[in-house]
């Protein structure tokens, strides 16, 4: 897709996006390999093809802003600033894992950068993110809360309850729907009445828009605009990004329920390639752009090697962080 070239675009900013998108892609490809190597034992959900949303949204968040994500949350977590090594250690369930080996892929989190957790239950993060925004408002703080969920989530109750709540209390929260076309392995369109996330949000008085989620420029611009509105006290906003899940629901799902031609066409809209194309037209050499992928792959290779060689967590970890009632192995606990 050839777009008119905006020469005023901040090249350095989008170079950083390009680097982040490649880091996410490389992390996901490495995680997929770790899955094939049978070193990631639990299910992992890859965000390959959806990197522009992760990078475009998270780069416009401050470290103090909260982020709640989904089971498909590696990219969001990385883009929010988490350390990929601690993430990979967690995926492999090893010592040094970001959740001490207790969460794995679907509960990946890094509270030190405001990332309060991926979630294994579809739509559950919507109310939690709304509540984090509620706390911000009560504490008169200036940060915001951001919730990224998939198109499947809009058919669960928390989507209605959380959005209504955010509107009622005029909360500083950005809802981001990654509409990748599939709710698990079923086409979302076939299971969704009406016009989808943005229309539903508007019906509740929430400013909402549908945007091409594979175009990093559009993602970045709309996110920045909406976040500025939210920071100015204008309440919740929702962006529904159209994208495509280039891999299956999980890393072990071949996604044979969709025609090869459809997937092939989707690859032509690969957000990273589209970003490369843009930067190339802005005068960045292909050599530099290709280097981004190489560096990202090397980084994740190192991360994987470290994770593979790391020991298991100590057994005591199974019994810590339950609640403030002492060691669960002792006495009544």
């Amino acid at each position: 897709m050839i777009q008119p070239l905006n020469q005023n675009i901040d090249k350095d900013w989008f170079l950083e996006h390009h680097i982040m998108m490649h880091r996410i892609r490389a992390f996901e490809e490495t995680a997929a390999r770790a899955n094939q190597d049978k070193l990631v034992l639990g299910a992992i959900h890859l965000s390959i093809g959806q990197e522009a949303i992760a990078s475009g949204v998270c780069k416009n968040l401050m470290k103090e802003d909260f982020l709640l994500s989904t089971h498909r949350g590696h990219g969001h977590t990385l883009a929010k600033g988490a350390d990929p090594e601690a993430m990979m250690l967690e995926l492999l369930g090893r010592r040094g894992g970001i959740c001490k080996g207790k969460g794995g892929s679907m509960h990946i989190a890094d509270a030190s950068v405001g990332m309060l957790g991926a979630n294994g239950v579809v739509a559950a993060n919507i109310n939690i993110a709304t509540g984090a925004a509620h706390a911000i408002k009560l504490k008169r703080e200036t940060n915001i809360s951001c919730c990224i969920f998939g198109d499947g989530a809009i058919n669960r109750g928390p989507f209605l309850e959380g959005l209504n709540w955010s509107g009622v209390f005029n909360l500083p929260v950005l809802f981001v729907c990654e509409n990748n076309g599939f709710a698990s392995t079923t086409r979302t369109d076939a299971m969704t009445s009406g016009e989808g996330a943005a229309a539903r949000a508007r019906s509740m008085g929430i400013t909402a828009i549908e945007v091409d989620g594979n175009d990093i420029v559009s993602v970045d611009e709309i996110t920045r605009e909406y976040i500025a509105n939210i920071r100015n006290g204008n309440g919740p906003h929702l962006i529904s990004f159209n994208t495509y899940r280039l891999h299956g629901h999980t890393a072990s799902d071949p996604a044979s329920y969709r025609p090869a031609a459809e997937v092939e066409a989707a690859w032509k809209e690969d957000p990273i390639e589209r970003c490369s194309e843009l930067l190339s037209r802005l005068g960045i050499s292909r050599e530099i752009l290709n280097e981004h992928r190489k560096i990202a792959l090397e980084e994740m290779e190192r991360v994987y090697k470290t994770a593979k060689e790391a020991p298991w967590p100590s057994d005591d970890n199974a019994f810590s962080d339950v609640q403030d009632l002492g060691d669960p192995r002792e006495g009544a606990f």
Partner: protein
Amino acid sequence: MVKMTYAEAAKLALAEEMRRDPLVWAIGEDLGRGGVFGQYLGLLNEFGPERISDAPISESAIMGASVGAAMAGTRPVVEMRFADFALCAVDELINQAAKARYMLGGQVKVPMVIREPMGMWRSSAAQHSQSLESWYTHIPGLVVAVPSTPADNRGLLKTAIRSDDPVVYLEHKNIWGYEGDVPEDETLIPFGKGRLEKEGDDITIVSWSAQMHIAANAATLLQAEGISAELIDLRTLWPWDRQMVFDSVEKTGRLLITHESVSVGGFGAEIAATVAEQLFSVLKSPITRCAAPRVPISYAPPLEAKIRVSSEQIVEAARKSVAVSAGFK
């Protein structure tokens, strides 16, 4: 000591904690007008609508938003209106609140109190009368509190609000108006410490919540016929005061547990199993449970009465237990 009702004691505790800590706030349906049972009456005037906040009838959002608000540094006191309605927010409580701290490797805590008015009141049928306390004891990460007196309701609610973990706080609807002495200074009651309601030598009776008062009546009736019952009010079910129960059973050699909730899978079963495991050799008779039959709660008063566990039933069961004289092994 000051005389006040069970509801007033909880209101006092909440107000004291809200004055002490600006991060404590309450959220639920109809709180502005004082709550369904008047347990928030007057608090709006002192604390304003942000901290005594009305909520839409969205249990999953009330619970879920409170999880997020707790993670983000506040201390929500969540009002579920009826324990039965908390079932609309099971994912938010069980999958999210209870486990977030663990799943995230200790990176977050979820300090929230979930107030769930429970139990049989009068002709409220099966969706407004349940006692589901045993469910929550099964879930790692939750504290379960079941106060029976005004003093305990004040002291335990304060401890619950200060807890860094989610506390399922079950107040019994039938005793909102129950009056009792409450200490004038603020006394915090720790989790896991039972209360010896009455000393005795012949049989240990363990109970909690409103059923404790029915058990107390039974203990008085038993005393009149020469059976000396020791009555323990557990006050919290997780953690629960094993030591107090063990000490008592070692003395009496007999144990009866009574609760309003269904007997099958009730917390009485956990107590019975634990005592059987630990103190089998001191038992003089089989452990007895007096609890509800496994049927939904009825509407018509005579039908509802069939489901209640009466003092007379407890007396009868205690008599049988004591009648086993020389041990049953």
